[in-house]
Amino acid sequence: MIAPLRAVFLRDLRIAFRVGGGAGIGVVFFLALVTVIPFAVGPDLPLLARIGPAVLWIGALLASLLGLDRIFSADHEDGSLDVMLLAPAPLELIAAAKGAAHWVATGLPLVIAAPLLGLLLGLEPALLGAITLTLLLGTPALTFLGLVGAALAVALPRGGLLVAVLILPLTIPVLIFGVAATVGAAGGPVPFDMPLRLVGALSLVTFVIGPVAAAAAIRNIRD
């Protein structure tokens, strides 16, 4: 049962990193977003340092919403989704494998880029580590929530904006606890580890709910 999952995981990674896969675009968007912020609020480094964690989290959130609608729709169009439905592994686990591959291709680069972009915002080096840690624990939750939206919009020709509208309200808890943990790391009124653990918990919960709901949504259009 593991073999088909590994095959799906590696195949999705390979597609993502090849020409037309679009794995790097999310990071470029993240960079562009962080670059645009100072033009809006002014090049005031203390202010940027204060809102920096929030900017990085919102940037990562928006960037991770970008490629979501392609997770299943490309496979739906070329028929690979039908093959996956016939695979010896349950569709829930295949959806989980696809989500994991999508996170490695799009979420992990955002996490790696975050400390570099944090330097642009004048964040303290110690804080950069904390933000990177919260993003590392939080971006899987964004991906696996997005998996549900991607599966719901699988057969729609222009699902991108719809997926974002469906998923954004559900990501609010991740955003709240992710930013709160960085506030705690910066010496704010909250502890660092409590919200951080909740971010991790949300990732674990969505890791269960996301693939199950996504598989149900895919079976729905195949009925």
Partner: protein, 242 residues
């Protein structure tokens, strides 16, 4: 009449035919009584006359939450029991629920202006209601995105249930976020100290709102069934014309 007998859309239509006017009449009567009682109730010693906004605001908030719960039960009906009317009920409820949530937000804004000095404050309850409104809008958008009614119904059912799992998490996180950013000093209407003179009109208004919802919901369900029949007939006619 057993629950499963309602699964027959035809039987539902005959039932709705007399239930809609009954509910509508009950809504008019209850809302009239509630409004009169509300205007004759004593004004609050702190808030003055503006406290009367509560008689619309609070029932709308209850219904906004209650209708989402109803949609979640209907979602189970769609996915688990394959009840043929469940997705009709869910589809008819969504815009009404969004409407009540919007009424709650708007009256809250009007109430907030004299009380808090601003139309909007990022209070935990207001923010939670706003998130609920966003969930409603997402569900409405998904209904409009998928053409085939049965398929749209099952997709929305999945989204509704995922949203339902998220609602308590959102509520908890927003409450926590709120205590983090501002002390909970805003005036709160709840608690055991609510006076019967205020509680009676509030409950009458809530019943009136519920009756109004039932009337609107049954009428909307009836329309949706008719709309689907028209769609089927059109498809059949188009198939015959080929």
């Amino acid at each position: 009449m057993a629950f499963y007998e309602l699964a027959n859309p035809h039987r539902f239509m005959t039932l709705a035919r007399w239930l809609v006017p009954v509910c509508a009449a009950a809504a008019v009567a209850l809302l009239a009584i509630g409004l009169v009682l509300g205007f004759r109730a004593p004004a609050d010693y702190q808030q003055g006359e503006t406290v009367r906004i509560m008689y619309i605001h609070v029932p709308a908030a209850w219904l906004g939450l209650g209708i989402y719960t109803l949609m979640a039960i209907a979602a189970l009906g769609t996915l688990v029991w394959r009840h043929p009317l469940a997705d009709v009920a869910a589809k008819a409820a969504a815009p009404i629920g969004a409407g009540f949530t919007l009424i709650c937000l708007l009256t809250g804004a009007l109430w907030g202006r004299p009380m808090w000095g601003a139309y909007w404050v990022w209070d935990a309850r207001l923010t939670s209601m706003l998130v609920l409104f966003l969930l409603y809008l997402g569900i409405l958008a998904l209904w409009r995105a998928i053409e085939e009614p049965g398929q749209a119904g099952r997709a929305v059912a999945i989204l509704t249930l995922v949203g339902l799992i998220n609602v308590p998490i959102v509520k908890f996180s927003v409450d926590w976020w709120n205590t983090l950013h501002q002390p909970a000093s805003v005036f709160r209407i709840d608690g055991p100290t609510i006076h019967p003179a205020i509680l009676t009109p509030l409950l009458v208004m809530a019943l009136g709102f519920a009756a109004l919802f039932l009337a609107l919901h049954l009428a909307a369900m009836r329309n949706e069934i008719l709309r689907r029949r028209v769609r089927t007939l059109r498809l059949l006619a188009a198939a015959e014309a080929c």
